[in-house]
């Protein structure tokens, strides 16, 4: 790659095909399918989308749309509060599943179910459970207290909390499993030595578990944040963005604009998220491409 061919005394380079060894030719041939997929379905859509979002008028319209501001706040709540709660529970449960008991082994097999089954039917199941009139939750509340239960999905704060709950339900097993792998990689000798020294559980966590796991934990948290930005199902299928479009997050908002045929607004809302997404992506790429 270092040979540049501009100077008058440059050595005329042989044609490309002669410079490449047969394995390299095959390498290029085998790489072509993915490059085509990338060009046609990633690069072109992204450039086209950015081109659609070029007018400042779209950003003014977004700025004036109260739903956008609300969605941005909801997304922040979802990411900052939701993900951190989820990861803390996952960290805690990974310690629970690291215990050697036959029944915990069985429980771990069941525990993975939310991750193994598709999210659509289970989210709809929760949606029906929370129905104010016929849902099982309110029926049971009525049966035991004689009072009508709350209208769960009609209060924006409760509805958003429920959407976060559904998200946690779905992805908690995956992150627990990842953190469990990290925990099991810690040498058991360290814990035995600390037992001899009379360390309590908090000291063991503070000085053995956490130092070995903090990189993994932070990586997982950031990765989960990036992915959760793309979590469309939890909000859309549970609340549909309602009531009164107050529970949208950025991913459902983009699709809402798309359905309303306001494509430039949809793209502009995504572009507005980029200053937050790209640093996370950059950080993750640095970490994973080592």
């Amino acid at each position: 790659m270092a040979i540049t061919l501009t100077g008058p005394d440059a050595v005329p380079s042989p044609p490309l095909s002669a410079r490449l060894t047969p394995p390299q030719v095959w390498g290029i041939v085998l790489l072509t399918p993915y490059l085509l997929v990338f060009l046609a379905f990633v690069l072109y859509p992204v450039c086209y989308g950015l081109w659609l979002a070029r007018q400042p008028a779209s950003y003014v319209a977004l700025y004036n749309d109260p739903i956008f501001a609300r969605a941005a706040v909801n997304t922040l709540i979802f990411l900052v509060i939701g993900i951190n709660i989820k990861m803390l529970i996952a960290l805690f449960l990974s310690g629970f599943f690291a215990q050697q008991r036959p029944w915990i082994r069985w429980l771990s097999v069941i525990f993975i179910l939310p991750w193994a089954v598709p999210s659509i039917p289970t989210i709809l199941s929760v949606r029906f459970m929370l129905n104010p009139e016929w849902g099982m939750v309110n029926q049971l509340i009525f049966k035991f207290t004689g009072d009508d239960g709350p209208n769960w999905l009609n209060d924006p704060a409760v509805a958003l909390a429920m959407a976060i709950g559904v998200h946690i339900w779905k992805s908690l097993p995956f992150w627990t499993l990842i953190l469990l792998t990290g925990r099991l990689a810690i040498s058991h000798d360290l814990y035995e030595a600390s037992d001899v020294d009379g360390a309590n559980w908090w000291q063991k966590f503070r000085f053995i578990t956490w130092p070995s796991m903090q990189t993994l934990y932070i990586t997982c948290t950031l990765l989960s944040m990036i992915w959760t930005l793309g979590d469309f199902n939890s909000v859309y299928l549970l609340t549909g963005g309602g009531p009164a479009d107050l529970t949208h997050v950025l991913s459902t908002l983009g699709i809402r604009y798309l359905r309303l045929d306001q494509l430039s607004l949809a793209m502009a809302s995504i572009v507005c998220a980029m200053p937050f997404v790209l640093p996370l992506v950059y950080f993750m790429m640095k970490r994973l491409s080592r």
Binding site: P23, L30, Y44, G49, L93, P121, Y236
Partner: protein, 283 residues
Amino acid sequence: MKLPTLREVGTDAKLLLIGIPVFIWTMVPIYHMFVFAISPKEDAFSGKLWPDHPTLHNFSIVFNQQHYFLRDFWIQFWNSTVIAVAVGALTLFVATAAAFSISRLRVPGGRAVMNLALFTYFIPAAFLAVPMYRTMGNYGLLNTHLSLILAMVTIASPYAIWVLKQASDKLPVELDEAATMDGASTLQLFRLVYLPLMMPSLVAIGTYAILLAWNEYLYAFLLLSNDTDITLPVALGNFLSADDSPWELLMTTGFIYALPPAAIYYAFKRYMVGGLTAGAVKS
């Protein structure tokens, strides 16, 4: 037999105190779906924890397509199957070729392509959906299964390439050298040495892509719209369009739809856990 000490009993009690809520939390939505699926219509809305007259009647309604919402059930099931299998096969092809090229043949620019793929992996799928929808329209592919298949291959292959590249980097270089010394061509190397050694990772990635495609809702719902073209999750979502939706039938269909991926997951769990968690987060 030695009786357990008080301390041991205490530890077990504490563990149970965590284990029981975890079990309930995990099972509630699934159990609720199951109860609906086996409840006759009048029991379904009475809030009972177990129906008075459990029945399999709902399943027979679904299988015989005896409801307005279910008139295309089997064709939608077929659509989901075809799309999932096609995505699995295409992703395997694209990703294996790319991983072999980047990791074993060390093609110039391979690292750059790997980074592009990783970058794609980190674009939230719902964000890519908006421009992807328009792009498919520009290509004239909207409302075809091909559009959904290509979109899902685009989403599945970055991770697939990355996991396969990590796995192939672990194979010793001496293998390739020895095979080349014996006069193997590049294609023979790929077919006779590389593919057999990579089998566990390939199973994991194939399963990953199939499950991803079977479970996908957003892209399917954007790219397909005819009742006879859509996949099962989109059909489930369409139940919500009516106020008097037959919930017990929706839950029955959802239950049937959730069974194959759960079965596949547990059948290939060995590969999935080893192949995917190692790849998911490298610390």
